[in-house]
Amino acid sequence: MMHWMTASEMSQAYDAGTLSPVAVVETLLVRINALESQYHAFIQIDREAALAAAKDAERAFKAGRRLGPLHGVPVGIKDIIDMAGQRTSCHSKVMLEHIAAKDAPVITALRGAGAILMGKLALHEFAIGGPSFDLPFPPARNPWNIAHHPGGSSSGSGTALAAGFLPLALGTDTGGSVRHPAAACGLAGLKATYDLVSRQGVYPLSMSLDHVGPMARTVQDVALLLDVMAQTSTSPEANKPVSYTRDLKLGVKGLRIGFIRHFHEKDEIAHPDVTRALNEACEVFRTLGAEVKDITLPSLQEFSAPQKIVLMSEGWAIHARNLRERPEDYAEMSRRKLMCGAFLSAGDYVQAMQMRGVLIDRVNHAFASADILLAANSLDPACQIDDVKEVVRTYTRQARVPFNLTGHPALAMMSGLSCEGLPISLQLIGKNYDEVTVLRAGVAFEQATPWHTMHPELS
């Protein structure tokens, strides 16, 4: 079925002349029209612009011009990223009148690669306040079970991919907001090294923790999208030309994988289905020829506290004026989270940043004996979206935050199904700027397991 095609499959079919980008966009729009009212993935659907771009791509293909693998491939954009002339709502009443003057560099790169921008996707308000029901737009729902939370804050990105509305989407990740919807919706999502992708033109939540990340249904598609997104980096260290798709099939034979077992067996006790899937993943990697051994990092709690202080402090600095002048325009949950920084001191922030340096050193040290790290993602399957107690209980039960604090690349990918039929996910973490190895390991796992081929049944 066309709506489950990956971006890589679309690209190959375009190369072979067996697929029309107009047919792809029309098919996806029909599906979106039929299902969006239940799943709320989008803030805005750009039907006309998407169809026009598809027709442009088709004319280009017929003239023998292909801009690259993303040419003619639909992509959705989290509505916190600027697109010239369009509203960047941040899913908030506060930003309803905000029209972006120009494209964010990551959007410019996508347009340059010929991607078809399908619209703006739902999120948690300002990438922090959700799931909330007191906002101008409803929260996105999980296609695996519409009563469940799709993860967040890039919730619309997760929903759109899992629903077969899009093959690719952009998310952002300050405390796991690419990797959480990837976990809840059974997807692949990457938080790359801190400055590998430009954050310019993306409404900040916490500048030193924010990342823009690619999301897709397969790791290969994540790599395809990263190839374009990484062109935007302004960091000298990140600016070495790298192909993230070239070495994906090299396998993991001889790779040293450090398994951070204590995150989910000691620091927090994961749901048994999560633990089982992680143990099975270890066996998969061993079978593929990798060496897997346990490794110890500081505890989740040691990472979590400084991360929250940094996030609260930077987030307050950004939102202080609006919270003083128009607090009623925020959702309750956002107010409660974003005002926290008003009650921290400059000294708290400085000490958290000092501790951050210590923790970065600890993770870097771990890579002396491992090429990549394997860790849990969410410690529970997605809970019901309107079960406030469960949302509260499960939200911080995760192992994503450490790598926002340290900046290391972290890939989320599906690694199983819970007994209730909800996706389970793992993380692969790499050395700074070594996304190539992380993605290579992800593809090896993907090829050895069936999870990426599974899709929810939508009605």
């Binding site: 967040g152 796991g176 506290a305 003083r324 009623e328 309750e332 409660r336 009650f343 000490q351 000092q354």
Partner: protein, 81 residues
């Protein structure tokens, strides 16, 4: 972006840290809120302000500061050309 950030901590648990006696003392929280310019929020959403304050204090209570208080921050200062 910040999906981790403390729905649980946004609940109204009292701080257990000896230096966070402010938690639960609404008058002191009100004073700090006013100093932060949050009079409007305090008037309209007092529970939200109290919750935010207690969340911050709870986080501060569990945070272990680095042993070396002269350590450089990360990210370090960079020359801007």
């Amino acid at each position: 972006m910040a999906e981790n950030m403390t729905n649980s901590l946004a609940s109204t648990q009292a701080s257990t840290h000896p230096n966070t006696a402010l938690a639960g003392q609404d008058q002191d929280i009100q004073m700090l809120a006013k100093l932060a310019g949050l009079e409007g929020a305090l008037a309209r959403f007092p529970e939200d302000v109290t919750t935010a304050a207690k969340t911050a204090l709870n986080i501060r209570a569990v945070f272990q500061a680095p042993l070396d208080n002269t350590a450089e921050l990360w990210p370090v200062m960079q020359v801007k050309s």
